[in-house]
């Protein structure tokens, strides 16, 4: 029997506003527990929420970039449930009238592309955090995160494999970082995702019963959790059992999903319109302004890099694929006339290091500034390409400043022709056999002489100058 997988994703994107969705509390990450909490975030008696327009503007950017409908009138509802890190006993969210509906995004997987439709994206407030491992036998509550604005992006159930799910998540992450509405930092929980998975016989029209996998926050785990879940469901059905509708938790240590609560145990959230908040109306003027100031998106960048800067298409694709990569390219290009050189380094050595370490460029030690400096030092002749590689590796490990590395290790390129000529002469004198062989036609030996000079100068000689000198001396 062959099975077909149906997956839908709900991605929670933390919007990078300065203050919270309904209060003036700061959204900064990493502060001491319960220090970024104001009266509203605590849900004190008598406090009232006031909607943060900036969050709407950011949500609208996402809507515009995915070709979605922007609901210029949207409203808030209350989702009622009890939990210690939910200060009011309800979450304010958009159930009936979300800000964004009916968008889509293109994903590419291996050798094909696919469009995934986005049902809706709505604004809601985040909860705080329960801390279970800090106090013996007690749970702590940190409300710093409570009230942080989230954009919940809900896909249609059109994703057919774990790989597609990862590609979709990556595409959303790429988009929200380009739009500058989220920092995309998954380790800090800036993007989290719930996955709905079901299977059905190939060709069936009806959807199977789905399980919801909660709160997965890395690409690797999304893929693993989905694949585990697909296999679990297939096994169940093939053994004559049935899948139950439930919420399951992925345990990354054991690589398995396990039941958290069934449909029967699920909360009745008793949604109803939040009486404290009037519907939010976005004017045509506001919408127009957001449209006009929409940042350049990956595809637009790609086209510009090819047509205006003259990069190869393959280079442009790689560089435009991530916000940080594109930033690096643009920052470094501004320091040199040779944008091609910048692209070559990014697509070559930098990408090789990324692949080797299996990380994204924004997780690396390489900052756009430092990379720009590296390119500047290559193009102004301070260091050779070869030295530059070792400098890059050093930066990769230590995040030290490029100029400091060059200075402290004495890596400045030797340009002095007299000095280099003396070195070259010494090499020629001490290798009479090779000189004879070269002169009798073994052209390939030229590289040997260059190598020896470089060795003698610890790689600091300007290779171009060395070439010229050697050609002259070996005539």
């Amino acid at each position: 029997m062959s099975w077909e997988t149906v997956i839908g994703l709900e991605i929670h994107v933390q919007l990078s506003t300065k203050s919270k969705l309904f209060s003036g509390g700061s959204t900064e990450f990493g502060a001491e527990s319960n220090t970024h909490v104001d009266l509203v975030d605590m849900g004190l008696p008598g406090v009232l929420p006031v909607a943060n327009r900036e969050a709407f503007y950011k949500a609208i950017r996402f809507g515009l970039a995915t070709g979605a409908n922007i609901n210029q009138t949207s409203s808030f509802d209350r989702k009622n449930y009890f939990y210690p890190d939910l200060p009011k006993g309800y979450q304010i969210t958009q159930m009936e009238q979300p800000i964004i509906e009916n968008g889509s995004i293109k994903i590419s997987v291996d050798d094909y592309e696919k469009k995934i439709n986005i049902t809706r994206a709505h604004l809601e407030e985040d909860a705080g955090k329960s801390i279970h491992d800090m106090f013996e036998g007690e749970t702590g509550v940190d409300l710093n995160r409570a009230g942080t604005p989230l954009l919940e992006i809900v896909s249609e159930p059109e994703i057919s494999s774990a790989k597609e799910a990862v590609a979709y998540f990556k595409a959303i992450r790429q988009l929200v970082t380009f739009l500058d509405i989220c920092d995309g930092n998954m380790a800090q929980g800036s993007m989290r995702c719930d996955v709905n998975v079901s299977i059905r016989k190939s060709g069936d029209k009806e959807l199977g019963i789905r399980a919801e996998l909660k709160n997965i926050n890395s690409f690797k785990f999304i893929e693993k959790a989905i694949n585990f879940e697909i296999n679990r469901q297939i096994k169940l059905i093939e053994n004559g059992e049935s899948v139950v509708q439930e919420t399951r938790l992925y345990d990354s240590d054991k690589n398995e999903t396990r039941s958290m609560r069934s449909k029967e145990e699920a909360n009745d959230y008793r949604y109803f319109p939040c009486p404290d908040l009037l519907p939010v109306i976005i004017s045509d003027k506001e919408l127009k302004e957001i449209k006009e100031n929409l940042p350049e998106l990956p595809e637009e960048k790609e086209i510009r890099y090819v047509n205006e800067i003259g990069l190869e298409e393959s280079e442009a694709t790689i560089i435009a694929s991530s916000k940080t990569m594109a930033n690096m390219f643009e920052e470094a290009s501004s320091k040199t006339d040779d944008a091609g050189l910048v692209a070559k380094w990014l697509v070559g050595d930098v990408s090789a290091l990324l692949n080797k370490n299996n990380i994204d460029i924004d997780e690396s030690n390489l900052s756009p500034e430092n990379f720009g400096k590296l390119i500047e030092r290559i193009s102004d002749g301070t260091i050779s390409g070869k030295i530059a590689k070792s400098v890059l590796e050093e930066v990769w490990e230590t995040a030290s400043d490029v100029d400091q590395i060059i200075e402290s290790k004495g890596l400045i390129q030797i340009q002095d022709e007299n000095l280099l000529e003396n070195v070259a002469k010494k090499i020629i004198e001490s290798n009479p056999d090779q000189v004879k062989a070269y002169k009798s036609g073994k052209d390939k030996l030229f590289g040997f002489f260059v190598g020896q000079v470089m060795k003698e100068t610890q790689g600091k000689a300007n290779p171009k100058t060395v070439n010229e000198i050697l050609i002259g001396l070996l005539k």
Binding site: P45, L48, G89, R270
Partner: protein, 483 residues
């Protein structure tokens, strides 16, 4: 010189004539509170702070409009550093770190908040019998209820302890106790007064307002209470008139709507007679009576008892023992913490409403109850909008009768809910309404309700003031007519 039973206007004049010092006023207030301890009108007093403020006014003369005027605050408004219980055990240790906008506005105008008044728990009740801190006594007779939920405020003003108090009105909680205690109380248009710092019962209905001896005093306080508040998005940005300026406008050719659909046959004969006498009084002041129809009015009480509990069931979720307020001891786990805290913290009426509210919002019932109720609410509002095209105000009795005995309606919540029959529709439609004394039945006061058009507090205050210029029902005190 005494301030007992004195209006704000009178106290202001005593101050300007130097007949009394600010400190003497406040000291007398606390003396009167002690003499009237039986009323149980106050939950928490603010004596030290209040006397300090009075001394400051004595030392530095002030131009503030309500400088040194003592005011009692309903214990539903958060008051910075002063315990705020909302009449509930679950908040009996709660000391807010901030003050409600209403309190700030009044104190900025010079008012001295002398203490927090008793009330039905979370403002749910019409007799003040649901307070965790015990019943409040109506000064007009032993064992009589003061009405609710702003019963402590009404009782304190009625007994002449303070010239004015704040109240809140979700379905009649200012007007009904005002009627039963023989004072004047006004519920403004929804959104006129900021809800920031008011502990929410039903957010779309709650509105704070003044309770005082006269319509004129209500105008003085309302002038200071209202403000557009950026902390409350439902607070209105419309211009706030000076409510004092229109008090003496002529009522000539003004039109009073008389609701045809209102069945007065179930009422006490005396109530009906008193109501008709008041209408005649207004006719003699030049106003005309016009029959109007509010066809959906009879649906007000059932609509209210879906919408208000629904909102309260959600608003009261934050009282869970986790962050503030009381927390039950000796609990095994989180579930038990919630269950025990909320079981011990809330009284029966609050629990009843949370249950009703949770039920009407639950999956499968939402459309039949909550959604339907909101649709009916819209119809009721439309009825009022249509009616106000041709009239200036609507008049009804405020209550079905005068103050009743404590415990007399205890076992029948429906009987208690019907107490708000005449007052609820103004909350559902968001309209301003005032209750003022218009008669006595067996030495128990009763009130007339005047409902105004949206944002038109000025007109109802004008009507009430002109009536009080011609009559002396507002001069009656439990100790006889005021000289």
């Amino acid at each position: 010189m005494t301030i007992k039973y004195k209006s704000i206007k009178e106290i202001k004049s005593m101050i300007s004539q130097k007949e009394i010092s600010y400190k003497e006023i406040i000291e007398e207030v606390y003396k009167l509170i002690k003499e009237n301890e039986d009323l149980n009108a106050f939950i928490t007093l603010n004596e030290e702070e209040s006397i300090k403020k009075a001394e400051e006014f004595d030392n530095n003369s002030s131009n503030l409009p309500l400088a040194g005027i003592p005011i009692a605050q309903k214990d539903l408004f958060c008051s910075k550093n002063l315990r705020t219980t909302c009449g509930s055990n679950i908040l009996n240790n709660f000391i807010p770190p901030y003050s409600a906008t209403v309190i700030e506005n009044l104190e900025n105008a010079g008012c001295i908040s002398i203490g927090k008044t008793n009330m039905d728990e979370f403002a749910m009740g019409s007799s003040n019998e649901t307070s965790f801190f015990g019943n409040v006594q109506n000064p007009w007779g032993k064992n009589l209820v003061p009405g609710g939920s702003s019963g402590g405020s009404a009782s304190a003003v009625s007994a002449g302890i303070v010239p004015a108090a704040t109240g809140t009105d979700t379905g009649g909680s200012i007007r009904q106790p005002a009627s039963l205690c023989g004072i004047t109380g006004l519920k403004p248009t929804y959104g006129r007064v900021s809800r920031w710092g008011m502990i929410a019962f039903a957010s779309s209905l709650d509105q704070a307002g003044p309770m005082a001896r006269t319509a004129e005093d209500c105008a003085l306080i309302l002038n200071e209470m209202c403000s557009h508040d950026e902390k409350d998005t439902t607070s209105l940005e419309d211009e706030i008139p000076n409510f004092e300026e229109s008090l003496n406008n002529s009522l000539k050719n003004k039109k009073i709507g008389i609701v045809k659909d209102l069945d007065l046959s179930s009422l006490n004969n005396d109530v009906v007679e008193i109501y008709h006498n008041s209408l005649k009084e207004f006719e003699s002041l030049g106003a005309e009576l016009v029959d109007i129809s509010l066809p959906n009015l009879s649906l007000s009480v059932p609509t209210y008892y879906v919408v208000a509990p629904a909102e309260c069931s959600s608003n009261l979720s934050r009282f869970d023992g986790v962050k503030f307020g009381m927390r039950s001891e000796d609990v095994k786990d989180l579930e038990e913490l919630y269950v025990k805290t909320r079981s011990e913290g809330f009284g029966d009426e609050v629990k009843r409403r949370i249950l009703i509210g949770s039920y009407v919002l639950s999956a499968g019932y939402y459309d039949a109850y909550y959604k339907k109720a909101q649709q009916v609410r819209r119809l009721i509002k439309n009825d009022f909008d249509n009616a106000f095209k041709n009239i200036d105000v609507i008049m009804t009795p405020t209550t079905r009768g005068p103050a009743f005995e404590m415990g007399s309606k205890g076992d029948d919540p429906i009987q208690m809910y019907l107490e708000d029959l005449f007052t609820i529709s103004a909350n559902l439609a968001g309209l301003p309404a005032i209750s003022l004394p218009n008669g006595n039945i067996q030495n128990k006061p009763i009130g007339l309700q005047i409902i105004g058009n949206f944002l038109d507090e000025s007109t109802i205050l004008n009507f009430a003031h002109m009536y009080q210029n011609e009559t002396n029902w507002h001069m009656y005190t439990p100790e006889g007519i005021k000289q």
